[in-house]
């Protein structure tokens, strides 16, 4: 970022469009955090592109005053891939939901992750279809009663972070819509990551699935129910920071209370680069047995797709020389008719 650049503020990222989410929707909080984080990233405003699919969350681009592309259902990663490969200098963000990215767009999501394009995926997970008015989603709990499952869902849900890890995600994180300080910090971390950053954000749909995440969202109980992941620090949680996670056996985490012979030294220490099994273990820790881990589960470095493409083009061009159209057309076995 050039030093003469005028400092950006939240206002620069507010579009002139009226926001049309339901009053009380968790999307407002996410929008606000993004608009607060974007100005501080050191990226010129015109280099941001937000791409989305279909659903409540996918209206996101209309409300941020950057370049935006509201695509079709589930296909935001495809469009974003083309944008990023065509111009790797852009900062490309995807706003998507659990239905958009895990159901109709599941294929594109996993392939985007394995390619490790340098794009940021914000998955607004409300465990319900909102825009189509309340059907079960791929993250809805087994047995959940919705409009499309009046007798209870018989679908087992996806665990989005585990899915992202399985697809080779190099940055996998989780946060909460209304927990602004945390969300903003994870957004900054995602922006700083060179590669696909996958961020699952628990988002309350107060119309069709209200209070789905109350135990993590409500300030009074949150600290007892979430586990803050901080690289290099022990897995401690609780309002009084008196509980932690240790291994009771191979691959078996357990919750312990500190004191009575249990000290921080007995606890697991968070390592973002640990073998994948550790990250999977975190992804699968869920209430009521465990606190919900939030923060960065995994962060590793790997070559980005668009960089590899650019380097290959450069290498071939260096070897063969820049393409000459006349030479190309007149190559092969040509003959002259006089």
């Amino acid at each position: 970022m050039s030093s003469e650049q005028v400092a950006l503020t939240k206002k620069d990222f507010v579009s002139d469009q009226e926001v049309r989410w339901c009053p009380g929707c968790g999307d407002y909080a996410i929008l606000s955090s993004v608009q607060q984080v974007f100005p501080d990233l050191g990226i010129p405003k015109e280099k941001f592109v937000i791409v989305s699919g279909i659903g409540c969350s996918s209206r996101f681009p209309y409300y941020v005053n950057t370049f935006g592309f509201h695509a079709i259902h589930g296909r935001a990663p495809a469009v974003a891939t083309g944008i990023k490969v065509a111009n790797p200098d852009l900062s490309v963000w995807i706003a998507t939901g659990d239905g958009d990215s895990l159901s109709i767009g599941g294929n594109h999501l996993i392939h985007c992750l394995r390619r490790n394009l340098d794009i940021k995926i914000l998955l607004f997970d409300n465990r319900i279809y909102g825009l189509t008015k309340g059907q079960t989603s791929p993250t809805s709990e087994f047995g959940k009663k919705t409009k499309s499952t009046p007798f209870g869902s018989v679908d087992h849900p996806f665990n989005p972070c585990a899915l992202a890890l399985g697809a080779g995600g190099t940055f996998v994180a989780r946060s909460i819509d209304t927990y602004a300080p945390h969300l903003k910090e994870v957004l900054r971390q995602a922006a700083a990551h060179k590669g696909t950053a996958f961020l699952q954000i628990y988002q309350n749909c107060n119309i069709f699935n209200d209070n789905a995440f109350a135990e993590f969202r409500e300030k009074e109980v949150r600290d007892d129910n979430v586990l803050h992941l901080r690289h290099g620090e022990p897995l401690v949680f609780g309002k009084n920071k008196d509980r932690g996670i240790r291994m009771s056996g191979p691959y078996r985490p357990e919750v312990v209370t500190l004191g009575n012979g249990v000290s921080e030294a007995d606890l697991l220490v968070h390592d973002e680069k640990a073998p994948l099994g550790y990250a999977f273990m975190l992804a699968h820790m869920e209430p009521p047995e465990f606190p919900m881990p939030i923060g960065v589960l995994r962060r590793v470095e790997s070559e980005c797709f668009e960089t590899a493409i650019r380097e290959q083009i450069q290498a071939v061009t260096a070897k063969k020389g820049p393409g000459d159209l006349d030479k190309l057309l007149y190559s092969g076995d040509v003959w002259e008719v006089r």
């Binding site: 005053n65 592309f69 079709i72 495809a78 083309g82 393409g323 057309l329 008719v337």
Partner: protein, 619 residues
């Protein structure tokens, strides 16, 4: 027409103006390779030519069986020719299955060369022959040459020391050598090609070259052919030529358009027959800055191309009919967001998986109407392998100028078929100006060019032009989401008019032949060759018949209604159930005669000629 000349006591040379040869064998016999080698040599000799590779969908169907038969037909001539030929004059059959599948097409008294070593009991059984055709008299009507291809090749390669199995794989070159002798073709091209192809395996270079030379020498020594043939150079228009397949020509057209427009070419694609070669070929041109993206599916392939266009590249996607169906939602989005996009559909037999390696032109209505709601696209169709270059270039020019998607139709026949292509001078190619919007002053994402109605191309990274596009209906001008009923109707009409106005950017229809009266044969796509050949023969026969071949199918040339009205009758031959006929009748209320063929095979000239003769009288 032949002119006999005496060469020596026992053999003589005849001059022919055109010959059709078909090589047929098992898919493992290397018939496609043999055919392309004969083609390349024939191109170098200076004949006009057209080819038709016809192979099974299975990579290796059980050896020796009927489904495993692979064929390659070439028509070469000293005159201008338009098709790979109706029926072969010469059939080279490597086994009983190849003979059985192809014999019916061979001209009576045609030359039939068979590998007699592959007519053992077991081979006959695999091909379902109850008796041996070499002995039962069923080949009496042909000039049969029984050649022990396997034994002779092994004998020629005895000294090489390579395993018998590898020796047997060289017998196609033995057969090729024989054909070079029979038609007075030089061996040099193929010898050099073998040298290059097998450069890392000396013993294979030696073996294949030996086999080729042995086939030639065998004919020379045994004088097996009493007559050999010369086909003189064709009198083609002066220029530099190369032999080109439709898919190769498309690739060069796209690279040329990328160069001329200064836009980075981005191809999103997913492997599908018969379009995959476009991906293979384009992926070699990295030094032209070409990005080829093999996507996870057809949908991502087109989506990424649209994303690339949004970011200022030239986004294209290449597929066949089933892939087109998958892409259609995204093509609708491209119509809505009004960005450049070229979608190439190499049509094949359908519906569903249908006949993946066979040709058809039944996606016209899909291209024109196969999307939800009112979503018109520009539609073009290439008429021959070489024409694919111009059509790819034209598709790019139109999509950039008019900021709306173009669908380019080709088909399996011209995608894989080849013909000589008179190379254009790149300086003569039309300019493709690109004007990215940069000025924020007065910028609105859906402001329209007063001539074309195109909206500005404002790419991310341009300060002050931040804006949002998407699938929701836009307000005209500002481009904000709008549910206003009258705005919607206005936008639907604008998008349609935008495509209609392309008619002023394309040449008017001009019939070949007479400009008025008699029968007009109207075609599109790969039927051009067969229609042209048939119309010329009919005219030579004194019939009042002309032809009109449409490259632009949507919009159609602006004078088309008037042109159609000048003729008494219209005939539309198509490899479908009358799709263009349907459109012409619906749009122009003009009664048309249909000639439909839906066999996975291109038209023969004679099939169209027959119908023309039915519909016309000698004048």
């Amino acid at each position: 027409m032949s002119t006999p000349t005496l060469s020596n006591a026992t053999t003589r040379v005849e001059t022919l103006d055109r010959v059709v040869i078909r090589f047929a064998g098992d898919s493992g016999d290397g018939m496609q390779l043999t055919g392309t080698q004969f083609t390349a040599t024939t191109a170098a000799v200076g004949n006009d030519l057209a080819t038709f590779p016809d192979y099974p969908a299975e990579i290796r169907a059980p050896a020796g069986t009927l489904p495993g038969v692979s064929g390659f037909q070439i028509n070469f001539s000293s005159e201008e020719i338009y098709t790979p030929g109706d029926a072969p004059d010469v059939l080279v059959a490597m086994n009983p299955a190849a003979l059985k599948v192809n014999l019916a097409d061979l001209h009576k008294n045609g030359i039939l060369i068979v590998n007699s070593d592959s007519f053992r009991e077991v081979d006959l059984k695999k091909a379902g022959c109850t008796s041996n055709p070499l002995e039962d008299g069923s080949l009496d009507g042909y000039r049969l040459f029984k050649v022990e291809l396997t034994r002779l090749t092994r004998a020629a390669l005895k000294e090489t020391g390579i395993p018998t199995k590898d020796q047997d794989r060289c017998k196609n070159f033995f057969a090729l050598g024989m054909m070079y002798y029979l038609y007075h073709r030089p061996l040099d091209y193929s010898l050099a090609w073998i040298e290059q192809k097998f450069s890392s395996k000396r013993e294979l270079v030696q073996a294949n070259q030996l086999a080729l030379k042995a086939g030639y020498a065998y004919c020379e020594a045994t004088e097996i052919f009493q007559v050999t043939y010369e086909v003189p150079q064709a009198r083609l228009a002066p220029g530099i030529y190369r032999n080109i397949s439709g898919n190769q020509a498309l690739v060069l057209g796209f690279v040329a358009a990328s160069r001329k427009s200064g836009l980075k070419l981005f191809q999103g694609s997913y492997p599908i027959t018969p379009a995959s070669d476009i991906l293979h070929e384009l992926s070699m041109y990295k030094s032209f800055g070409v990005v080829t993206f093999q996507a996870e599916d057809e949908i991502a392939a087109v989506g990424a191309a649209i994303g690339a266009s949004f970011a200022g590249a030239l986004g294209i996607t290449t597929t066949s009919g089933p892939g087109m169906a998958l892409k259609s939602e995204f093509v609708g989005l491209a119509v809505m967001v009004e960005l450049p996009l070229v979608v190439v559909d190499i049509q094949r037999g359908g519906p569903s998986t249908g006949l993946p390696t066979k040709t058809e032109q039944a996606d016209l209505l899909q291209a024109m109407f196969g999307r939800h709601s009112e979503s018109p696209c520009i539609v073009l169709a290439a008429r021959s392998p070489a024409d694919c270059f111009e059509c790819a270039y034209e598709a790019c020019r139109l999509t950039i100028r008019h900021m709306t998607p173009v669908i380019l139709l080709s088909d399996g026949f011209i995608a894989n078929g080849a013909e000589p292509w008179k190379l254009p001078r790149t300086a003569d190619l039309p300019e493709i100006p690109v004007r990215f919007r940069t000025d924020p002053e007065g910028f609105l994402p859906y402001l329209r060019d007063p001539d074309t109605l195109a909206r500005p191309w404002a790419i991310p990274g341009t300060a002050g032009l931040e804006h949002r596009i998407g699938g929701l209906e836009k307000s005209d001008g500002a481009g904000n989401v709008s549910y206003d009923p009258l705005n919607h109707e206005r936008m639907v009409r604008l998008r349609a008019e935008k495509v209609e106005r392309v008619a002023w950017d394309i040449p008017p229809a001009e019939p070949e032949g007479d400009s008025v009266g008699g029968l007009l044969v109207v075609g599109w796509g790969s039927t051009y060759g067969a229609i042209t050949g048939a119309v010329r023969r009919a005219r030579a026969d004194g019939r009042r018949v002309s032809q009109l071949h449409l490259r632009h199918l949507n919009p159609m040339p602006r004078n088309l209604a008037e042109v159609l009205s000048r003729f008494e009758r219209i005939l539309v031959p198509e490899m479908n159930m009358g799709q263009l006929a349907f459109v012409l009748q619906g749009r122009y209320l003009k009664e048309v005669e249909r000639l439909d063929k839906i066999q996975g095979q291109p038209f023969k000239e004679s099939e169209i000629l027959e119908r023309i003769l039915d519909l016309t009288e000698v004048s």
